[in-house]
């Protein structure tokens, strides 16, 4: 074989990548339109497009712009942040079970948000909510990294995640327990279950910039993650600055996941399921997994949110976080059995 056939091999890989991303992008566009069109008042495609472009009647315009669009944008942004953060954390820790929810980053961000709400910081300064959530996520990510880098075993990581989650959840419960206002408690509790219902552009504006910045930071780690598949020394010998990579992953994950949790509560398992399903079609290459994971995460969460609204016609509306956990937890069991046997 010659170098030409290798060039062709590279070209066909790039084409396959491009096709995958285009297909996921198209799917996301369809889900976006469905999500904007579906709800108590179902809109036709024509009405949806008219409302989005500002040529529909006032009532439709209000439904789409004030109710549906913020909800849809949040489900897309948060889903993509979770999918991407899952893919990056798995690459960084070289562990297919790493996921913001399972390893305690989401619940720590939740704790950060609860603290901001409890002490009333978010009333004094709106950005305190995402800032506090991101700080919670950052602290958890740093602890995880320090311990996981030392032992590297799947089991340690999961147990550590259990410990961090448990601690964060118990502190959140403590805050609710001590809260003098029962109404605030049910608010917090509902919000912790994870949902994008009844969100407005206020929440979108609060979270979206951080999610975008965090995602951009995470996307830039691709090549270093590829090198890391040869282990830390192998990666270093290929010119990767490990300290920089860790900082990128921690800052990116905290910003993207923390901001999402701040406005939509904790939504689990998206970052676990999505990279796992896509890994075989991206040749298991960490860098090639990133963009598809972001797109598919957006698709998955948007589809789940559509499902939630369709089910709501026959009863109370389920929380998005409850739905993703119901789907994701059995998947996690399956992965744990599969991976747990081969890695310690």
């Amino acid at each position: 074989m010659t170098a030409d056939s290798l060039t062709m091999r590279l070209a066909s890989r790039r084409r396959a990548n491009w096709q995958l991303n285009a297909a996921l992008g198209a799917l996301l566009l369809v889900l976006f339109l469905v999500s904007v069109g579906i709800g108590y008042v179902s809109l036709s495609l024509g009405d949806t497009l008219a409302a989005l472009t500002g040529t529909a009647g006032e009532k439709l315009q209000t439904i789409v712009w004030e109710l549906r669009l913020p909800r849809t944008l949040l489900s897309m942004a948060i889903g993509s942040a979770l999918g991407l953060a899952g893919a990056v954390l798995q690459g960084l820790l070289r562990n297919p079970l790493a996921e913001p929810g399972i390893i305690g980053i989401s619940s720590s961000a939740g704790l950060g948000a609860v603290i901001a709400l409890y002490f009333g910081w978010s009333m004094a300064w709106p950005l305190a909510l995402p800032a506090s959530a991101m700080a919670g996520a950052a602290i958890a990510t740093i602890i995880l990294y320090i311990v996981a880098a030392r032992s590297g075993s799947v089991l340690t990581l999961i147990l550590l995640g259990v410990a961090i989650s448990g601690f964060a959840i118990s502190l959140s419960s403590l805050a609710m327990n001590l809260s003098p206002n029962p109404w605030a408690v049910s608010e917090i509790l509902f919000w912790l279950m994870g949902s994008v219902k009844d969100r407005s552009f206020y929440e979108v504006n609060l979270a979206l910039p951080f999610i975008l910045i965090g995602s951009a930071v995470l996307m830039s780690s691709g090549r270093a993650l590829d090198a890391l598949s040869l282990g830390e020394e192998g990666a270093q010998s290929l010119g990767v600055d490990l300290r920089r990579l860790r900082v990128l992953a921690i800052v990116g994950t905290s910003a993207a996941v923390g901001a999402g949790v701040a406005v939509a509560g904790t939504i689990g398992f998206v970052g676990l399921v999505v990279p796992h399903l896509l890994r075989p079609v991206t040749g298991h290459m960490p860098s090639r997994l990133l963009l598809p994971s972001a797109l598919a995460g957006a698709c998955l969460l948007t589809a789940a949110d559509i499902g939630v609204r369709l089910l709501a016609n026959s009863g109370p509306e389920l929380h998005l976080g409850v739905v993703t956990s119901l789907i994701g937890a059995p998947f996690f069991f399956y992965l744990l059995f599969k991976v747990g046997g081969s890695m310690r």
Binding site: L6, R14, D226, L230, V240, G283
Partner: protein, 266 residues
Amino acid sequence: MTEIAVEKVGFSIAGKKILSDIDFTVDEGRLIGLIGPNGAGKSTLARLIAGLQPAGGGRIRLDGEPVGDIHRKILARRIAYMPQGHVVHWALDVFQVVALGRIPHLGPLSSMAEADAAAVQRAIDKADIEPFLDRDVSTLSGGERARVMLARALAVESPVLLVDEPIASLDPFHQIKVMNLLRDIAGEGRLVIVVLHDLPLAARFCERLLLLSDGRLVADGEPKDVLSEPNLEAAYAIEGLHGRNAGEDYVLPWRCLEHGAKSDPV
């Protein structure tokens, strides 16, 4: 001309001396073997030369420039390093693993160009791994995997190649094959240092040996001098069997000496 100068290098971990006062200069063209018993500090020395850890004392220079002063990315183009263990964390196929060797040559946004594909192809040909290019590395045998990792290091096409125990898990056929390959690469005018445990192969294929024992460089020179009976006794606590076949000297590890291993086994 490529030259590595190790000047009075020391290294300790948590107060324990791993290396002390290592001093030598090596250059291109001849295969250089780094040998010594377990725990002698061979791998540590290889890591220090590759710039993966800063030396505790002294200095290592690559063509006159201290290794620590060279930007990591530039250094990665000049020194290729193949660690022990042959770790690959994901189920990548062989081609992808070899292509990782081109990472030091890629810009932040550029992807593999034709020149990179040509370098990957040369590495594949040299290591003779074409037949399993599409296989998942996790399904390869130990020997196949070692050759893939070697090809990965070769794909960097760096003037310096550092390989840590490339033949540890290989059958005799592939051991000889890999040693031949390393000697040929050195013969192309590259600086190749190989960490070895196998004394007969070190004696036959390397043109210069550096013998480490207890973190010190105890012998440096031609194989027949380095693997002399007093050195084998002092460093390895073994007796060697020396012989000659078809004009080539050989040495076999023959018998343990009574007083046991001198170095602390890991």
